[in-house]
């Protein structure tokens, strides 16, 4: 974990309301799939923006973000050459065990981006199938990345790109066709994760989900971004997560 003074190399729109920003960190950072960075956008914004790392390449790191509030509005206007503080890598990240050969990625909305980092880290070592749901054709992005997976199924809520279904339904259809993974890694809206939890419980599949929550410090000190665990305890999404075994957390 380090607070990098990062220089924007590129900051461009990649889909409807979605941008990708690439920073030069000045040195190579060791980032695990599913970890995130806490980006200081400055000005009157006292909180940083916690955003999942999408990919890293030598000294460069790329984050994809949805325009949601004033902070991301401001970030989107920043041009190449702008320097920002980026505290990273944060959180535990996804980890695929040695004996887990077949990996299923289930993602929806902005939750698809941390899954790209999984594909980048494990793509050569594992047989990865990606089931990605988008709102509509305009929201489709990251296709060139997901196409590197052994299997890539893209679906949309309205059927304007791929079949009309959600990512969990796409995963379930393939599961029924006999494509059973050793582990499922997921990130997306809570209703999607809930549906997935029901499915993996029924199918007795090992599954890890990356959660999102409003954060304060991003490093585990302020206990703002907690989630409830099934054992009654509370866990910090930023430090104990963001990736949890789906059986351990209440969604």
């Amino acid at each position: 974990m380090k607070d990098y003074i990062a220089t924007i190399v590129k900051n461009e729109q990649i889909a409807e309301n979605i941008y990708a920003v690439t920073f030069d960190l000045g040195e190579e950072a060791r980032v695990r799939a599913g970890q995130f960075g806490n980006i200081a956008v400055g000005g009157t914004h006292l909180l940083r923006r916690p955003i999942a790392v999408c990919k890293t390449e030598k000294k460069e790191v790329t984050f994809c973000y949805q325009i949601k509030g004033e902070g991301t509005q401001k970030l989107k206007t920043m041009e190449a050459g702008t320097r920002l503080n980026v505290l990273m890598p944060l959180g535990n990240g996804f980890y695929v065990e040695e004996n887990e050969k077949k990996v299923a990625l289930v993602g929806g909305g902005v939750g698809t981006f941390p899954l790209i980092s999984v594909l980048r880290e494990y793509g050569d070592k594992k047989e990865i199938s990606a089931y990605i749901g988008y709102r509509n054709k305009g929201a489709v992005c990251g296709v060139e990345e997901f196409e590197r997976a052994a299997k890539f199924v893209a679906v949309t809520d309205d059927g304007s790109y791929g079949e009309k279904m959600n990512a969990v339904q796409a995963f379930e259809a393939d599961l029924k066709a006999g494509n059973r993974p050793d582990v499922v890694l997921a990130c997306g809206p809570t209703p999607m994760l809930r549906a997935l939890k029901t499915l993996v419980e029924k199918e007795n599949l090992n599954c890890y989900v990356s959660l999102e929550e409003r954060m304060g410090c991003g490093i585990g000190a302020c206990v703002v971004c907690v989630c409830e665990k099934t054992n009654g305890a509370r866990a910090r999404v930023c430090k104990d997560g963001p990736v949890f075994n789906v059986n351990d957390v209440l969604l």
């Binding site: 974990m1 607070d3 200081a40 006292l46 585990g220 000190a221 971004c225 907690v226």
Partner: protein, 305 residues
Amino acid sequence: MANLSVNICGVDLKNPVIAASGTFGFGREFNELYDIGQLGGISTKGLTMELRAGNPVPRIAESRGVILNAVGLQNPGVEHFIKCDLDWLKSTGTCVIANVAGKTLDDYFAICERLDGKVDMIELNISCPNVKSGGMAFGIKPQSVEEVTRVSKSALKKTPLIVKLSPNVESIAANAKAAENGGADCVSLINTLTGMAIDIERRKPIIANNTGGVSGAGVKPIAVRMVYEACQAVKIPVIGMGGITCAEDAIEFLMAGAVAVQVGTANFTDPFAMPKIIKGLNDWCDKHGIKNVRELTGTLQLNER
């Protein structure tokens, strides 16, 4: 190099910069970024006798220049702190201030008694705006401020007592005086101001608790004014806080009469905020020919009106 050390109620601090309760946990996470032993002190996350789960999420929101939080005193309980964090925290070399809260006067007595002699100072949280019972209830009226202070002080044989004051009151001077009358060795202020931020699409408050405590750069002028008023009202030392982001901010509080300051929200914006403030204090003193940071305290000269 200026001398930055200060002494509060007989306790020596390397410098007057203390981590504010609730923004710094028990120090372990920030120690991964820098040696927290360089800090003047750390006020721990608010401790209660029993473990507390805290409020539902979301617990934080942002508004221009400030943040709002309603964590609701989530903490592992005082025994867990004593067993798992205290020795390590002391080993870092920083001054350990245990921030404590309770629902009843008995709770305050019990937790003060439990920590007496174990930590460098105890900071009484009588002003948490985010829990339904206790906390804030004690912090509003001067009579109850005095009472909770007196009860807590009676449990302390060795450790000096700081009473942290709420700004959500009729008269900060009266409450500071009440704490002093109750036997406080020091007061700290301001805790957060109660506020609300609304998600207009959902027509609901962003924070699950509906209201939250407002902190950050935007509250600083209010905090400076209140610290000044408290300093005028009492003879015991005052620790100032509220929106401190840089050394210059800290100096305002010192000039208003504070002997030390606490830094909270700035740690979220810049995790290195406190080491930078300590360095900035030294640089400012050097530049102004000040040999001892203590010389700054209470040097404010009001404009003639």
